[in-house]
């Protein structure tokens, strides 16, 4: 069973449905016991970093997610959920992240060439860097759906895919059993479902 962590941020209907579509049992839950019993954990997220981090703390799920990751359980952060895996974020201030992957969350503005629209909103192609695990069923160059104004600035060894938005933008990260994708696999058609299927098969 895969636990989709519900900490009151965003709508998890599509994410839940996409696991149904690939025949993987997934439950949307805020119950620590369910998350602890799950084989895999998905940390979703939309909105602002500060609010999401605060909600993850006040629901008591911050430590639960951290502990499960430390035990070696596969964890997938999606969009803001991926950004929260990092050490800190500079979105409207400076905030501490889960610290499961080295790096920080910084604005696209000033990084991508001027004139490009922010947020990056739409379909963009994956370019692999040490891609493994969740990209088992994915070909380089396939398109996935992005909506974001900030990106993960991580040491190259943790970056598994980038996308070209005038500059290489981190599309996914991995450190051992901890995975993250900036794009929305649940909104990326068959390519996205293939990524969720691969995550559902990773052993660590």
């Amino acid at each position: 069973m895969t636990a989709i962590v519900d900490y009151g941020v965003g709508n998890l209907f599509s994410l839940r449905s996409s696991f149904d579509a690939i025949g993987v049992e997934a439950v949307v839950t805020s119950d620590p016991a369910v998350i602890e019993a799950a084989e895999r954990v998905v940390l979703p997220g939309v909105g602002a970093f500060r609010d999401a981090a605060e909600k993850l703390r006040t629901t008591g799920l911050w430590d639960v997610v951290k502990n499960e990751a430390a035990k070696g359980k596969p964890l997938l952060g999606i969009c803001l959920g991926m950004q929260m895996l990092l050490e800190k974020s500079f979105e409207f201030g400076e905030y501490e992240g889960l610290g499961l992957i080295p790096g920080s969350v910084v604005p696209l503005e000033g990084y991508v060439p001027a004139g490009l629209k922010i947020p990056q909103m739409g379909w963009n192609a994956l370019e692999f860097k040490n891609a493994s695990g969740i990209f088992k069923n994915t070909k380089e160059g396939e398109y996935v759906y992005f909506v974001h104004s900030y990106y993960c600035d991580c040491p190259a060894e943790y970056v598994t895919a980038v996308t070209d938005y005038g500059a290489p933008v981190t599309a996914s990260v991995r450190r051992g059993n901890v995975y993250g994708c900036q794009f929305h696999p649940e909104k990326s058609g068959d390519v996205g479902l293939a990524i969720l299927r691969a995550f559902s098969e990773v052993k660590e």
Binding site: S14, S17, A21, N124, A125, Y143, F146, K187, S188
Partner: protein, 252 residues
């Protein structure tokens, strides 16, 4: 590079899609879920469902079909029609919509854009405007293009973005239904310097119209159309391979 998007728009009345004639190979042509899946399989980058129902019962049906669509179609879904309050946003987002498009409701009360963007984020709020040339300028119309609001389109779009709209749909009433191409002049004059994604709507008649749109106006991110897709005049698959041949980045 980020792909240019092709977006079919489906009008839904009382839970059924207002029919097109020529859905090849589809029997239940008016089921929004079946059509959504059909378009998604054809390579549509996003779907817009426009609720043209007036009754409360129709609204309930609409949210039911939306849920059904979101259960089976895994690309971004935008909902428009009858969005007048943040509660309306809440109603359709809970059913699996990713973005909500406001039009007359935002004209009546522009704070709707601000309130919705604050609660759900700008990426969720699409400002759709029906615009027509009048007295040497561009005028915003409400109620499906029937009522002149007196608002200048350039000012209105600018204000909408300032209030938090994360995307603009510009529908030209002048070219809508004419099928001789998108309104490149209006798009340039009204949305040329907008810093959020712009979706062109109104006037597409053939595949070449999309090529012309994307080659002449690099700031346009997506092309939206209804009847030419519904009636099978343009196949999204063929359209995208043609755009790719012309060097326009699209998702195949």
């Amino acid at each position: 590079m980020i792909a240019k998007r092709i977006i079919p728009c489906l009008d839904v009345r009382n839970g059924r899609v207002v029919k097109g004639k020529n859905f090849v190979g589809l029997t239940d042509v008016d089921s929004p879920a079946r059509l959504g899946k059909f378009y998604s399989d054809c390579g549509a980058d996003e779907l817009v469902f426009y609720d043209i129902t007036a009754s409360a019962e129709g609204r309930r049906l609409f949210t039911e079909v939306l849920t059904e669509v979101a259960r089976t179609v895994f690309i971004p879904l935008t909902v428009g029609g009858g969005i007048n309050s943040v509660d309306d946003f809440d109603r359709v987002l809970k059913c699996g919509a990713d973005k909500v498009s406001v039009n007359s409701g935002a004209i009546k009360d522009p704070r709707l854009i601000f309130e919705a963007a604050k609660r759900y984020g700008s990426q969720c709020v699409v400002l759709s405007a029906d615009v027509k040339r009048k007295d040497g300028g561009y005028r915003v119309f409400a109620k499906g293009g029937r009522e002149d609001t007196g608002l200048d389109a350039v000012e209105w779009i600018k204000r909408g973005v300032e209030l938090g709209a994360g995307e603009i749909v510009l529908n030209s009433i002048d070219t809508d239904g004419v099928k001789e191409g998108f309104d490149l002049e209006m798009l340039t004059d009204v949305c040329g310097s907008v810093n959020v994604p712009v979706i062109a709507s109104g006037g597409a008649g053939c595949m070449e119209d999309f090529t012309e749109l994307f080659t002449s106006l690099p700031f346009v991110d997506a092309g939206l159309a209804a009847s030419i897709f519904h009636y099978g005049e343009v196949s999204i698959k063929e359209l995208k391979s043609m755009l790719l041949e012309r060097g326009i980045p699209v998702r195949i």
